[in-house]
């Protein structure tokens, strides 16, 4: 179980997370949706200790991440796979070496077993035999699949996906969605998927949470989100330019005007 409890995080004057609370149950796939730049990636980077909260905490299986010492944090990270938005493959290493990198960190695996695990992970993402290729030779979709293979080769208990389908064509996006579903079925992992692609969210998610202005606006099952009456969530999932968010902006703008303040939005 992953628990975000009243998480606050600011970068300079910009308050990105402002009381973000969410519980991800064991075995489920939680999709976090929200506008670009609202702090979705910032939230999941707290799970692996890449960022430290200003207030509040993230707990993984009851362990508060920011309170762990370096050794315990490394042990926790070994149980979590992270799929980065642009794959973050190491350019100087081959695909095989990229996927093997996390496995080499472990002392209990021999070279033969590492090679076997790399081959299995690449097969699971439909890239069998890609070990000798370099990341520069791969398309965007293939790079994302290698990034996923690198994460699942560790057989993690948790998988965090940071915008896995952003920038991909619809067919490749659908392939990635299938891989996420297949990975969950094969490994039984608990997952968090960050996306603003609603088709992807409906395909892979058990529950969907919308992050808005630093906190959760609504969380519910796919059906509950589809049937939401919240104008902000409705506008987002339908991708309409006009709706709850614009109305809020208009209302804020009118209020500011009435108070004689500058037009600058908060």
């Amino acid at each position: 179980m992953i628990e975000f409890a009243d998480l606050h995080k600011a970068f300079g004057a910009e308050q990105v997370l402002d009381g973000f609370s969410l519980t991800v149950r064991g075995g489920e796939t939680m999709v976090i949706i929200g506008y670009s730049g609202t702090g979705k990636s910032v939230a999941i980077k707290h799970v692996v200790g890449l960022l430290e909260p200003d207030a509040g905490h993230v707990a993984v299986d009851g362990q508060i991440v920011s309170a762990l010492d370096r050794r315990a944090l490394m042990a926790l990270r070994a149980r979590i796979g992270f799929v980065f938005q642009f794959a973050a493959l190491f350019d100087s290493l081959t695909v095989g070496e990229n996927v093997a990198l996390g496995l080499r960190r472990r002392r209990d695996l021999g070279e033969a077993e590492i090679a076997q695990r790399v081959a299995e992970a690449l097969a699971l993402v439909d890239l069998p035999g890609a070990e000798p290729r370099l990341p520069a030779e791969l398309s965007g979709g293939m790079r994302k699949r290698v990034g996923l293979a690198r994460a699942i080769a560790l057989r993690p208990a948790y998988l965090l996906y940071d915008e896995p389908t952003t920038g991909l064509d619809p067919v490749t996006s659908a392939v990635i969605d299938q891989l996420i579903v297949r990975t969950r079925e094969a490994l039984g992992v608990t997952s968090i998927v960050i996306t603003h692609d609603m088709r992807s969210a409906y395909t892979v998610g058990d529950r969907i949470a919308m992050l808005y202005r630093g906190r959760i606006r609504q969380v519910g099952t796919v059906d509950e989100i589809r049937a939401t009456a919240d104008p902000v969530v409705r506008q987002f999932i339908e991708g309409r330019p006009e709706g709850g968010r614009s109305a809020e902006r208009a209302s804020l703008s009118q209020t500011r005007e009435a108070l004689g303040l500058d037009e600058e939005d908060a």
Binding site: K45, G81, L89
Partner: protein, 284 residues
């Protein structure tokens, strides 16, 4: 009260009178700009101190940095040999001809050998090689680590349970400390060889005269002094490159900025260290 600002060339100054409010605003902007620079300078020192602490904490992770060090020694050291030898070759030629030109008729010709050997081993070998490697090695490290930083590869390393300071920084710094003296030793040999070659082939100096001059004032300390300096240059260049690379922000523009700053700071640091070692080791 009014103030004025002088602009334009020195021989034709243009004096513009400012109103009190404008003068106050001008002074405020000057002070606030100065204040921001001071704060940024102090914050930079803080970040560098924290970086050194992180590097020190990564030292016990021998398994990680041990596996990376050999390849870095090849990349930083062996691959830098051609440029170092090229610079040393031409330095040796110029030095021999310059020594002969300056000292003609004033001192015995064999002192050309002395000057070439002493200067190459104690000063020009280490410093010119260091400046060249500040560009080649320092820029390479800053650009590589900066790109890794902005494309989340450093974050990826952390999520794979690696310590990025053990994986990326220690192997490069270690390779710099070990390999810079090796590269400089080859550069010294090349500089002395081309100095000897041009002295004996382009000047009226015999092989025996050059060798006599070279041996007359030769001290083992000179070579040791040059190599100690080189090791300190290697340490400074790699450390600056790693620090500015890992603190890169802002995409391609940030990588470019980190690379430029690495070359500039490394070159400055080489000159500071050069003076430091002269004051420390040559005052006997």
């Amino acid at each position: 009260m009014a103030a004025f600002v002088v602009t334009g060339r020195a021989f034709a100054p243009q004096v513009t009178f400012l109103s009190t409010a404008t003068a106050r605003s001008y002074l405020a902007s000057v002070f606030s700009s100065f204040g921001r620079r001071v704060v940024a300078f102090v914050a930079g020192f803080g970040r560098f101190g924290r970086f050194l602490g992180d590097v020190a904490r990564a030292v016990p992770d021998v398994r990680t940095w041990g596996a990376q060090t050999a390849s870095q020694m090849r990349r930083l050291g062996v691959d830098s040999l051609p440029i170092a030898l090229f610079i040393a070759a031409f330095t040796g030629i110029v030095l021999a001809l310059l020594a002969s030109y300056v000292m003609t008729g004033a001192v015995p010709r064999y002192l050309v050998g002395t000057l070439v050997t002493k200067t190459i081993t104690t000063e020009l070998g280490p410093v010119l090689t260091g400046l060249a490697l500040a560009g080649r090695v320092g820029a390479n490290i800053a650009a590589e680590l900066g790109t890794m930083k902005v494309t989340e590869q450093v974050d990826a390393l952390e999520t794979l349970a690696y310590n990025p300071y053990a994986y990326l920084v220690i192997p490069r710094v270690l390779a710099g400390i070990v390999m810079f003296p090796v590269v400089v030793a080859f550069a010294m040999a090349m500089g002395i060889f081309t100095g000897w070659f041009s002295a004996t082939h382009l000047l009226p100096i015999s092989n025996a005269e050059f060798v006599r001059g070279a041996r007359l004032f030769f001290l083992e300390f000179d070579v040791r002094y040059g190599l100690i300096k080189s090791a300190s240059f290697g340490f400074a260049i790699t450390l600056i490159g790693c620090f500015l690379g890992l603190t890169t922000r802002g995409g391609a523009e940030g990588v470019g900025r980190a690379t430029t700053r690495t070359v500039v700071y490394s070159a400055e640091m080489i000159l500071v260290l050069d003076a430091f070692w002269a004051v420390t080791l040559l005052r006997s």
